[in-house]
C-alpha cells in the first residue's frame, strides 16, 4: 500500500493536478471568506465553507478522473496486478493519496479561523466542526469519483460521468421537491428503480432471465409492501432521495451541529465506494 501511495502522491504533484485542485479550492474558499467574513463581517467561517462546497463538482473529477482509467489506458494496470500487491492495497493506496492531495489545501484553509480570530471573536468549535464536515464531504465525493474512474478507460468520460453524478447529488434536494407526494407516485418511482436494477443485473450477468427475474422479484416485494403499508409510501421516494443527498448532510456541520450519524453516513459512503472499486477492478480480471 505504501508504495502505491507514494507513487500516486508523486504523480499528483508532477502532473499539476494536485496544484490545480489546491488552487481552485483555495481560490473559492478565499473569495467566500472575503465575502462572508471580511465584507459581510460574520465571525462564522462555516458559512464561507458552506458556499465553497459547490467547487467539489469541478475539482473532484480533476483529481479522480485518471486514478484508474489512465492506468487502464496505458496498460500500467498490468504491472500493478502482476506485482505482489493486493487489489485492496492498490485501491487504498490510491484513495489515500487522493485524500492527501485534498487535505493539503484544507490544511491551509484551517488557518483562516485563526486569522479571523485576530479581528473578532470566532467560535472555533463550530468552525473546525465545519472543517471536519468539509473533509468528510470531500472524502466521500473522492471515493465516488474514484469508483467511476474504474469503469472506463477514458479520462474524459470518467470526468464527465463524475461531474454528472456529483451534479445530480448536489441538486438532489431541489429535485426531490419536484416529486409528487402521493403514495402512488412513490410506487411508480420505485418501480422504475426496480426496472433499472433488472437492467443492471442483465448488463452485468449477460443473462436475460436473471435480469427479468430480479426486476420481477423487486417489483413483487414492492407491490407487497405497497399494499401492506400504503400510508407510509406517501412521499417515501422523495425521502429516500433526500437521504442520498451527500451535500445536504454537510449543512448540519455548517449550522454548528456535530452530527455523529452524518459522520457514519460519510464513512459508509467511502467504505461502500472503495468496496465497489475493488469489485470493479477484480471484475476486469475475470471477464
Amino acid at each position: 500500500m505504501g508504495s502505491v501511495y507514494k507513487k500516486e502522491l508523486r504523480s499528483y504533484f508532477c502532473n499539476m493536478q494536485g496544484a490545480i485542485f489546491a488552487a481552485f479550492l483555495l481560490l473559492i474558499a478565499g473569495i467566500m471568506t472575503v465575502l462572508y467574513n471580511f465584507k459581510g463581517l460574520y465571525p462564522n467561517f462555516e458559512y464561507a465553507l458552506s458556499d465553497t462546497g459547490f467547487i467539489f463538482l469541478l475539482i473532484v473529477p480533476i483529481v479522480t478522473m485518471r486514478i484508474f482509467s489512465e492506468e487502464k489506458r496505458a496498460k500500467t494496470d498490468q504491472l500493478l496486478y502482476s506485482l505482489p500487491l493486493k487489489v485492496t492495497d492498490v485501491v487504498f493506496g490510491k484513495y489515500l493519496a487522493a485524500v492527501t492531495v485534498f487535505l493539503v489545501p484544507v490544511g491551509v484553509m484551517a488557518l483562516y479561523p485563526l486569522i479571523l480570530s485576530l479581528y473578532g471573536k470566532v467560535n472555533f468549535a463550530a468552525s473546525y466542526g465545519a472543517v471536519f464536515g468539509f473533509i468528510l464531504l470531500g472524502c466521500a465525493l473522492l471515493a465516488i469519483g474514484m469508483f467511476i474512474s474504474t469503469l472506463t478507460e477514458s479520462q474524459v468520460i470518467a470526468a464527465v460521468i463524475s461531474f454528472g453524478t456529483l451534479l445530480l447529488l448536489y441538486l438532489m434536494n431541489a429535485l426531490t421537491s419536484l416529486i409528487p407526494n402521493t403514495s402512488g407516485a412513490s410506487l411508480i418511482a420505485f418501480s422504475a428503480v426496480a426496472v433499472l436494477f433488472g437492467l443492471i443485473v442483465w448488463g452485468m450477468t449477460k443473462d436475460r432471465f436473471a435480469g427479468l427475474a430480479s426486476a420481477l422479484l423487486a417489483e413483487t416485494v414492492l407491490v407487497f409492501l405497497y399494499f401492506s403499508f400504503k400510508e407510509s409510501f406517501a412521499g417515501l421516494f422523495a425521502k429516500v432521495l433526500e437521504k442520498l443527498s451527500v451535500f445536504e448532510r454537510f449543512s448540519g456541520f455548517v449550522n454548528g451541529i456535530f452530527d455523529l450519524t452524518a459522520v457514519v453516513y460519510y464513512l459508509s459512503i467511502v467504505a461502500f465506494c472503495l468496496f465497489l472499486c475493488v469489485q470493479s477492478v477484480e471484475k476486469k480480471r475475470w471477464s
Binding site: V4, K6, K7, R285
Partner: protein, 349 residues
C-alpha cells in the same frame, strides 16, 4: 517450477485459450511461440496473475496463482507486451516504486536498482523522464523492472517488438545473460529470435500447445524427413536404371519429367542417415548428365508453419488446429488434453 494444467480462457464467446498444459523447469530459457492471436499473451497474463483463467490451474513454485497470489507473484518478474511504464517518472523513480511494491527497502532496494540499471544498460538515462526515452530504452527499463526483487522466473512478452535491429541484438544478449541466473520465458512470433535465444520452445496455435520440446529435438524430429532433388539433362527413360538403384538407397522415389532435356528425381530419406555421398557415387557411376543436386531440408520456419497450420481457426471450434500436442518431452509424462481433443486431427504422428 511452473505447472500449467488445462488452462482455458474465454472472452465471452471467443475462446482465446483452449486447454493449455505445460511444465517449465528451472534454469532454462523457454520460447513461447505462436502466430498473432494464438493466446500467448493471454496465457502469460494468467500465469502472472494479471488475468483470471476461466478454468484450469497454474502453480508457480508450488503456489497456486489463484489461492496464493502474492506468494506466486513474488516468484515472477513480468514484462507485459506494452511496457507498463509511467511516463512522468524517471527510470530510477519507477524502479524504486516497483522495488518497494515487491517488498524491498533500504540498501537492498538501492543495490538491486543499481544492478538492474547496470545489467540493462539504462544507467545513463536513469534521471531522464521515461516519456523522453527511446523505445529501446523503455523496453530495457521494463526488463529492469521485471528483474527487481530477484524473482526466480522472468516472463517477457514479445520483448523485441518494435525495436531496431541493433536494439534487438542487445535485448537478446540481455535475455541470454538473464537466462544464466533466472528461468526465462519469452514469447515471440519471430522464429529466428526464439531459435537463437531459447533452450526450449513451446509452440501454441489457436489456443493450444502444438509442440513443446527442445529446439534440437524439434529440429531432429521434423528434419528426419529429407528430400533430395536430382536433375538430369536427359529424358526419363535413360534415368530408369539409375532410379532403380537409387530407390534402394532412399525410402521412396518419385520421378517427374518436364521435357526431353530435364528429368527430376525426388528421393526422400531419413535425415539421420545421410545418403548424399552414396547417391553421388551411383550417379557418377551411371555417367548421366547431372545438372543439380538439391537437398530440401525442413527449416524451423517450415516446422512452425506446419505446426501452427496456416489456417485461421479462430472463428469456431471445428476449424481448429491441425496438429497433435507434443508435451511429453517437457512434462516427462504423456500429457494430452483429452477434453477438447475431438476437433483436430493429427498431421504428424
Amino acid at each position: 517450477m511452473i505447472e500449467v494444467r488445462n488452462l482455458v480462457k474465454n472472452y465471452g464467446p471467443h475462446k482465446a485459450v483452449r486447454g493449455i498444459s505445460f511444465t517449465v523447469e528451472p534454469g532454462k530459457i523457454y520460447g513461447f511461440l505462436g502466430p498473432n492471436g494464438a493466446g500467448k499473451s493471454t496465457t502469460m497474463n494468467i500465469i502472472t496473475g494479471t488475468l483470471a483463467a476461466t478454468s484450469g490451474t497454474v502453480t508457480v513454485n508450488g503456489h497456486d496463482v489463484y489461492a496464493e497470489p502474492l506468494a506466486a507473484k513474488r516468484c515472477i518478474g513480468y514484462l507485459p507486451e506494452i511496457p507498463p511504464l509511467y511516463p512522468d517518472m524517471t527510470p530510477e523513480e519507477y524502479l524504486t516504486f516497483v522495488g518497494r511494491a515487491k517488498g524491498l527497502s533500504g540498501a537492498a532496494l538501492a543495490g538491486q536498482i543499481e544492478t538492474a540499471l547496470e545489467r540493462t544498460g539504462t544507467g545513463a538515462v536513469r534521471r531522464r523522464l521515461i516519456k523522453n526515452l527511446s523505445k529501446g530504452y523503455k523496453q530495457r527499463v521494463g526488463i529492469a523492472q521485471a528483474m527487481l526483487g530477484d524473482p526466480e522466473i522472468i516472463i517477457l512478452d514479445e520483448p523485441t517488438v518494435g525495436l531496431d535491429p541493433l536494439q534487438i541484438i542487445e535485448i537478446r544478449d540481455l535475455i541470454k545473460s538473464l537466462g544464466k541466473t533466472h528461468t526465462v520465458i519469452l514469447s515471440s512470433h519471430i522464429l529466428s529470435e526464439v531459435s537463437e535465444v531459447c533452450d526450449r520452445v513451446i509452440i501454441i496455435a489457436h489456443g493450444r500447445v502444438v509442440a513443446s520440446d527442445s529446439l534440437d529435438a524439434l529440429r531432429e524430429r521434423y528434419t528426419s524427413e529429407c528430400t533430395l532433388e536430382l536433375q538430369f539433362a536427359c529424358p526419363e527413360e535413360e534415368t530408369k536404371e539409375l532410379a532403380a538403384v537409387l530407390s534402394r538407397l532412399a525410402d521412396s522415389l518419385t520421378e517427374t519429367t518436364e521435357d526431353a532435356k530435364l528429368t527430376k528425381l525426388f528421393l526422400s530419406y531419413n535425415g539421420k542417415r545421410d545418403i548424399r555421398s552414396a547417391v553421388y557415387a551411383e550417379v557418377k557411376k551411371s555417367g548421366l548428365p547431372l545438372l543439380a543436386m538439391i537437398p530440401h531440408v525442413k527449416t524451423l520456419e517450415d516446422i512452425f508453419l506446419d505446426l501452427t497450420g496456416g489456417e485461421n481457426g479462430e472463428e469456431d471450434g471445428t476449424a481448429a488446429p491441425a496438429a497433435p500436442e507434443r508435451t511429453e518431452e517437457t512434462t516427462g509424462e504423456p500429457e494430452k488434453d483429452k477434453d477438447g481433443g475431438d476437433d483436430y486431427k493429427p498431421l504428424f504422428g
